[in-house]
């Protein structure tokens, strides 16, 4: 009967030695993990428990099914193969240990016998091949194709860490196959055909003849055992630690809305000055980074100037929490890196380890703001926002100036009850080049018979980007003033054309637990079209593309409503290669629109326009955000595409098709 011949050819002393090595490995492994956990616990407290089953489910999807890792084909299949190959081999080994050291030792029987053993052998033999395939792909990728994102490390010695992992895993798998092959070559059991790979290797070794094979078997077995234990005990000290840290990080990921930034640390100054002011979860983020560089590939700041790489930030922060004597701000992370972030969240969206880079950057910006350290443009913008409630430095009395001449007069929501309270936002109110669009929006609302009003001079900047700049106190002040003004009005729904305003009103304002219905105008238009309140008289017939604003798309998941509106106006929608959650940021978010540009090679907005220009026959670039209009109208000019591409607000299509 087939049975697992455990410790065949292994002298008793080697078997004993293996157990000693196993216990030593365990001890070092545990000590290493404890060392890491103690370090995380030096961070600030942050509650991440609750929703147990939801968290377990994300482990199933993201760890075992490798959902997000598989978003990229080659690296996805590569990692999936290594993961499942190694996991099955590890489980198989654990099973064999139980079989021999528990059931056989104490109860005198083995599980791994008969047909069950045959299946076991077959499974391990085949799935081991999966690991070989994955490791081969990894070696090819890292040392053959060498994509840019796997190069430029800020910490050079980590290249050794990457090599170590590939060498160790490859050696473990290959030496395992060799050991098996040599054993089968000598013992030649009738069931050897069920280990096809091992059997093929056995056929090769058969030519060498016994006892050479037995000696070779013992040598390779010993090396296999030593490498396996070596790899195991090195887990908490090398890149292999991601095997533990990434699932932990995924388990403890934030389940709050993406658009809700955690409150600032206020102990010893606002924000994060020293690494211990990060929360334990942020420290865990740093330790979960495998340096894959997917974030760097999608980062608009990296693409435009290379000042900021989210990957490098994580690498440097991880190195920093283990190295004393450097200042977090200045030595490790520069202010330029922090200010370069547009908070577009593309990095967070693609990270297979579920790292939240943006909250870390904002926490560090909060310290810079606390120190008053920022560029002059931003300082002026914040001073204006504090004093006048808008970044333009104009009087709040001028906020509703665009309504002059709009007939019938726009209602004052402070004086009469309205169904829709239109929160207009700074750019739509003050920017001289945008008021035309704002009036068109009012016109569409009026033609639709919408009962709407605005706050006039009581409206303040909603504070979304003030918060992301790191000026938490100013955000709170603006939010307080808006909340007080809104509390005095009677309305059912808030509507805004600005995704940034939309995000903070929806996700960050307190509303005393009684949040009103909040809509982006794309959603409202979509509803009005669906219910038949908006009826179009013509089909526009333009070929257009649509740009997803970060704070509407990635942050709030609204992708379909604006697309339905575009199609309802009779336009043909052609998608850019980077669309929906992969949309490329215009470069204005997170307060970037108030900052000096510094050295840019290609502005994110220019890259985006070139992406649209490359689509055959597209006449218009449709946006659903006032800042986008500003950014892209500039970009079509600076890229010399003014004649070939119109930048249109969604409302312009609706207005024209009415």
């Amino acid at each position: 009967m087939p049975i697992r011949d455990t410790f065949w050819n292994i002298p008793h002393w080697a078997e004993i030695a293996q157990y000693v090595a196993a216990f030593l490995t365990m001890a070092i492994f545990v000590a290493g993990v404890v060392r890491r956990v103690l370090r995380w616990r030096q961070g600030r407290a942050e509650k991440r428990s609750g929703n147990f089953w939801q968290r377990i489910w994300s482990l199933v999807i993201q760890v075992f099914a490798q959902r997000r890792t598989l978003d990229e084909t080659f690296p996805g299949i590569m990692h999936f193969s290594i993961f499942w190959g190694m996991l099955v081999l590890a489980i198989g080994t654990a099973f064999a240990t139980v079989d021999w050291d528990v059931t056989h030792l104490f109860f005198g029987f083995q599980i791994l016998t008969g047909w069950f053993y045959i299946v076991f052998e077959l499974m391990l033999d085949i799935l081991g091949l999966l690991a070989v395939l994955g490791l081969g792909m990894a070696i090819q990728r890292r040392y053959g194709t060498r994509p840019a994102r796997l190069q430029n490390f800020p910490v050079k010695k980590l290249a050794g860490d990457d090599l170590y992992v590939l060498v160790m895993l490859s050696f473990i798998v290959l030496s395992g196959y060799l050991t098996e092959g040599l054993r089968l070559a000598v013992t030649q059991p009738p069931w050897a055909v069920w280990s096809p790979i091992g059997n093929a290797i056995a056929a090769f070794f058969l030519s060498l003849g016994d006892p050479t094979n037995q000696t070779l078997h013992l040598v390779i077995w010993s090396l296999h055992i030593l490498t396996a234990f070596g790899a195991l005990l090195s887990i908490p000290f090398t890149k292999l630690f991601h095997i533990l840290s990434v699932p932990t990080n995924i388990y403890f990921r934030s389940l709050e809305p993406a658009g809700k930034l955690p409150a600032a640390n206020m102990e010893n100054g606002a924000g994060v000055k020293e690494w211990k002011q990060f929360t334990w979860k942020q420290l865990l983020d740093f330790e979960s980074c495998t340096r894959c560089g997917r974030c760097q590939d999608v980062c608009p700041a990296y693409a435009s100037s290379q000042i900021l790489s989210p990957r490098n930030m994580m690498v440097k922060l991880d190195a920093h929490i283990w190295n004393n004597g450097h200042a977090l701000h200045g030595d490790v992370i520069s202010a330029d890196e922090l200010w370069a972030c547009t908070t577009c969240r593309a990095c967070v969206q693609v990270c297979p380890a579920f790292i939240d880079h943006v909250t870390t950057f904002v926490d560090m910006r909060r310290h810079l703001v606390d120190q008053g350290s920022m560029d002059k443009m931003l300082q002026d913008a914040l001073a204006n926002l504090g004093r006048y409630g808008n970044s333009f430095g104009q009087s709040e009395r001028m906020r509703a100036k665009w309504t002059q001449g709009v007939q019938p007069a726009v209602k004052d929501a402070r004086r009469e009850a309205v169904e829709y309270l239109w929160f207009v936002g700074d750019y739509a109110s003050y920017s001289a080049t945008l008021t035309d669009i704002t009036r068109k929006t009012a016109d569409v609302f009026q033609k639709t018979g919408l009962n709407f009003g605005i706050l006039f001079d009581a409206e303040r900047n909603a504070g979304n980007d003030v918060r992301r700049v790191g000026e938490e106190g100013l955000f709170e002040m603006l939010a307080d003033k808006n909340s007080q003004a809104l509390a005095k009005c009677k309305f059912e729904t808030i509507v805004t054309t600005d995704p940034h305003t939309y995000n903070t009103l929806k996700n960050e304002y307190a509303w005393n637990g009684n949040r009103p219905n909040i809509l982006h105008y794309a959603e409202l238009l979509d509803q009005l079209i669906a219910s038949g309140r908006i009826k179009f008289s013509k089909k526009l017939g333009y070929k257009v593309t649509y740009h997803d604003p970060c704070y509407l798309g990635r942050y709030n998941g609204i992708y379909d409503a604006p697309r339905r509106v575009i199609e309802a106006t009779g336009c043909e929608l052609v998608e850019m290669p980077r669309n929906r959650d992969c949309a490329f940021c215009c470069g204005a978010g997170g307060g970037r629109i108030w900052m000096d540009e510094k050295d840019v090679k290609e502005r994110p907005s220019e890259s985006r326009i070139r992406e649209a220009i490359a689509l055959a026959g597209v006449q218009a670039f449709v946006v659903a955000c006032p800042k986008d209009l500003t950014m892209y109208r500039d970009a079509v000019k600076t890229t010399g595409n003014e004649k070939d591409m119109l930048v249109k607000d969604l409302i312009e299509l609706v207005y024209e098709a009415l």
């Binding site: 600032a264 206020m266 606002a270 703001v369 606390d370 008053g372 920022m374 002059k376 300082q379 914040l382 001073a383 504090g386 004093r387 006048y388 430095g393 104009q394 009087s395 009395r397 000026e471 938490e472 106190g473 100013l474 709170e476 002040m477």
Partner: protein, 253 residues
Amino acid sequence: MKIAVPVKFVPDLVEELTIDSGGTALDTSWLRLIINEFDDHAVEQAILLKERGGGQVIVAMSEAEGADDFLFASAAKGADQLIKLTGDFSASNNHALARAYADLLKELQPDLILTGVQAHNDLDGSVGPLLAEYLGMPYVGYVSGLTVAGDKVTVRKEYAGGLIAEMEVNLPAVLGIQAAEQPPRYVAYSKIRQVMGTAKIEERVVADLDLSGGITVSRMFQPEVAERATMIEGSPEEVADKIIGILKELGTL
């Protein structure tokens, strides 16, 4: 080193200015006040001096809407003592303000007084020189940097045409600040809020304002559009002839 910074608010030009019905003053009902930009630089310069060489910074101003916010913001930047003069300043002028500050400063006895070199609403001269006169101290204006050494201060004064003079002044002295050595810093709202919990604003009542020496406004008005410009065309000789003709006509030649 005790540094006093008397400052004042001026009309914020972000709002449209209107003349009141009397025609001699601004209509205050729409007026919004803001710190005089040069005074803001004076506060910054005082904080820089304190950071460099230690000492104590006193910021004083007269009562106005937003005065508390400004004083707390100064404290958040590093000012140690906040003083608000209360009383009826509605008819005040710079002479009266300088006398009120002088009374306060005689009591406080600072080593150095920094104030903004000018303000856009200075109708009767700027505060600095008046203050120096009332206190009997030396005054240097248009200062854009200074170094204190013992009982002397070396100041950098800007002249037209890009000239800069360095001069030594005996302390105590009044300096009119043109620009601080770095732009006024940003102070986070959370810091101001923290300071509000701990800092105190001392209120000093100014009973009588002495307006003497000031000016009387007979008429205040918006720039008026005049249509007196005439374009003279022709060769240089012809233009010169025509100009001479016009001047003769006006009786100036």
